[in-house]
Structures are given as C-alpha cells and as structure tokens.
Symmetry: C2
Subunit: 243 residues, 2 copies
DNA sequence: CGGACCATTGACCATAGTCAACCGCCGTGG
DNA sequence: CCACGGCGGTTGACTATGGTCAATGGTCCG
C-alpha cells in the first residue's frame, strides 16, 4: 500500500470501518499524480469529468462563478479529501475546483472507483458517506453565511477548518496553514474585503485566535468554539481530536 | 408496483436509467405510510434514525436550529424526494425535518434500502446520485444567500422550486402550491420579514411572478429566470420540462 | 363579534458595502 | 544595493441596504 492509498484509507477510517479485504481492494486502485500551482484550476464549471481527485498536499477549493464575474467559494479541501466524489454520478460540473496554493492531487478515474465499488460495496458506502459529510458541511455553510454575525461566521469557519485539519493530523501545535487571502475569505463568507478585515481585528481582540499571513493560530479553542457557535457533530468524525 | 414504488421510480428516472430488474427490485421495498400535520417534525436535530422518508404528498423542509432559537431552513422537498437519504450512512441528525403543511411520507427502513442496494447496485447508485443532486442544491443555496440581491435571491428560490416541481409534474398550469409563510421565507433566504415583504412587492412589480397566500404564479418564466440568474443545469435533471 | 395570526407599512437605526487613500512587504530590475 | 512597482492588507468617510420595532390592516375561525 503506497502513500496515496494510505491517505485514502486514513480518511475513510475517520468515519467508517474497513476490513482487511476492503483495504486490499483500495490498494488496487490506479491513479495519476498531478501538481497544481497557486490559483490553478483543476476543473472548471461546465467541464465534464471522468476522474475524481484525492488531495495529497495543499488546499483546494470549490467555487461558483457568477455572471458578473464574482466568485463564491463553497468549501475547502485538505489532504485526504475527495472533493469531486460529488461528481461521480454527475456528468457536468456545476462548480469549479482550484488550488489555493501549490498542491498535489491523485486523479482517480471514475471507472477505477466503480470497479472497486462493485467488487467491495463497503468501500462504495464509505465513499458515499464521505459525500454525505460533504453535504453536511454545505448545509452548515448555508447557515453560517445566512444566520450568524460576521465575527461568529469567521470564528465558525476557522473552527471547522482547524477541527477537520486536526482530525486528519494536519495541524502543527496550535497553528494551521490557511493559504487564503482576505478577498477570498470575503468571497467565502459573504462579506466585503473591508468587513473581513474588521472582523479579523475583532477576532484578534478576543485573544481566541489570529489569522495573519496565511497562518491560523488558535490561542483558546473553547473561546473560539463559543464565538462561532461551533458544534462539530455535523462533521460526523468518529475519532475525535483532542484539544 | 404500487403508487409508492411508482413515485420512487419516477423520481429516479428523472436522472438515472433503470432496468426492468431494477424496478422489480424496487417493488420489493417495504415501507410504512405516515401522515404529518402542519409544522409537524418528522425528525428532530439530534435524533438517530433507522429509516428514510419518501415524500408522497405535500412539502417538507430541512432546517437548522440555532442556539438562540432562530431557524435556518436549508431545503424544501416535494413528492418523490427522499430528503433523509442524506442520513443513510450517518447516525445522528445534524438538522431537523418538518412538514410545511399537511403531508404524507413513506418511511423506508434503512435495512430495506441496504438490502436492495446489495442486490442491485444500480439502484444504490441512482439513490446516491439523488443525494449528490441534493448537494448541488445546497451549494446553490450557499451562493444564493451569499452573493445575490434580495430580489434575485427570491426569484432564484422560486425558479428552483417551480422548475423542480414542473419536472416532477406537480405544477398546475403556471401555478404551484408553496405552503411557506413570509417569516419562513425569511428564515430560508437570510432576510427579515420586512425585507421579504418588500422584495415580494418588487417581484410583483416586474410582472414576472407573484406569490400570495401560499400560491406561486409564474407569469413570465424567462423574465423570472433572468431576475434570479437561474441556470437549471445544477439540478442535473435529464428530462427537462418545457416552458 | 373578538381574537389570533399573518401580512403590510412606515420611521428610525445599525451594519456592512463602496470608494479611495495609504501602508508595508516583496520581488524585480536598473 | 537601492528604487520602483505591484499586490495585498489597513483604514477612514460616506452611503445604501436591510434590520428592528411598532402600529395597522385583513382574514379566518371560534
């Protein structure tokens, strides 16, 4: 089992049980590694796809492109995520997928996935569960952008990112690389650049966390969680990280 | 094949191909019919479920409950939808599900679904696709509530509802029953009651559509679509309705 | 007829968007 | 090595949008 298969197995094990046979099945999956530069699109809105990407390194984002050119970022993806599992059974992309900074992905043909799903339905169910968790994250984003104050929205966003990263072992001490600019944060959280900036200042004042130069630092997890009304149960992660 | 099985088959056929054997498989699914009153919860946030509901009549909604008691409605479901297919592989509800008015559902045990999925993977894939379309609807809701004006938001919401209903043959001429109050519309579209009211007036002025007393009337589909920047491709419906 | 509930409207106010200027860092090229 | 330019972040002034609150109206039902 190479690193790529291991990455997928680790991710699925965050919420699903896999037998030895399931893992053997996963080992047979073929893929192609692809490097991405900052801001590079992996797939564009309207494209048709025959492969899904497994994130190996860096951060990817889904986004909608509006008629007026504005972007709406929808979700962010870290090592182990399979962002376009969403597109397994859907021909035409209704959103784009881009790298926030340098990133690396394993491109897995849909035919490979389908072969494994037929051979070992459990793997299919685990990936299905993965897509359902994605759905839960989308739902939470609706609520976040619709029903929380700017400060709470920002705090919740950082909570989710940090929690997911921590569950996957991607944090260093109390910090996490978040290669997102303020402008993009605004296009994620439905705020203008100026408002993002002011909300960040407010956040800094609470001493709960800080975001500066692409690095998120969490000083007081409980306080941050409180600010963002963050309840991680929607992430359905079985192996919960410690704080 | 009774009406319930037929309802499910029709829905899946909107986007997936089913063989005669698949349909025979679906016929074997056991279920229990349940009636719901206005505003009655089918499932509450935090509940654990062992069954999924297929909507037979009326309209159901998913919603988040905030710590301050406010609701955020996430999506609406019409005849043929299986709203909590989302919860097939997830134990604990991260949102609630309620009836907007009198409604009827078929409650299908997860064990029944899993049995059929194992016997005929194609059926599983069709239901999976159904959940992925749900995801696309969530994504669009993020964008709608985050990046469109109040008028556009309202128009887009009505477009989606009308389009989906029309694809399922649930519209009467150019009208559709939408048993949602203005308050609830606000809790769906991230607007206050007053703003919803004003946006509705604006909408009326355009002569594109009207919403009054729980009935949506579309006078000028093209204009409404335009107002809401509505592009139905994210719904991934193969058999497109005519306007 | 009275009350409940929902919709409507107006006045006022708070929040956040827009715009523009400025800063600071970094990389490039003279 | 320093000057320059560009990008991204910071800040302030003004403005617009939409939230809040309160009063009014309409309709349905008891």
């Amino acid at each position: 089992m190479d690193n790529v298969h291991q990455t997928l197995v680790n991710k699925l094990k965050e919420h699903s049980k896999l037998t030895a046979d399931d893992m053997t099945g996963i080992e047979t999956i073929n893929y192609a590694v692809r490097h991405l530069g900052p801001n590079e699109d992996l797939i564009r809105q309207g494209d048709t796809t025959k492969a899904s990407a497994l994130v190996l390194h860096g951060m990817l984002a889904r986004y909608h492109l509006m008629p007026n050119g504005r972007r709406q970022y929808l979700s962010y993806h870290l090592k182990g995520d399979v962002p376009d599992a969403q597109m397994l059974f859907i021909e035409k992309m209704d959103h784009g997928l881009c790298a926030m900074d340098h990133a690396m992905v394993a491109s897995i043909p849909h035919s490979e996935l389908m072969r494994v799903f037929h051979a070992r339905p459990t793997i299919g169910f685990a990936v299905w569960r993965e897509t359902l968790i994605d759905s839960a994250i989308f739902r939470e984003a609706i609520t976040n952008n619709s029903a929380r104050s700017t400060l709470a929205r920002l705090a919740h966003f950082f909570c989710e990112l940090f929690y997911r990263a921590k569950a996957s072992g991607l944090t260093r001490r109390n910090t996490l690389d978040v290669p997102i600019g303020l402008n993009q944060l605004g296009e994620t959280l439905a705020m203008s650049l100026a408002t993002v900036n002011r909300a960040l200042l407010n956040l800094r004042e609470t001493n709960a966390a800080n975001f500066k130069g692409g690095e998120l630092t969490v000083f007081d997890w409980a306080a941050l969680q409180d600010l963002g009304e963050f309840d991680p149960s929607y992430l359905h992660i079985v192996r919960k990280p410690r704080f």
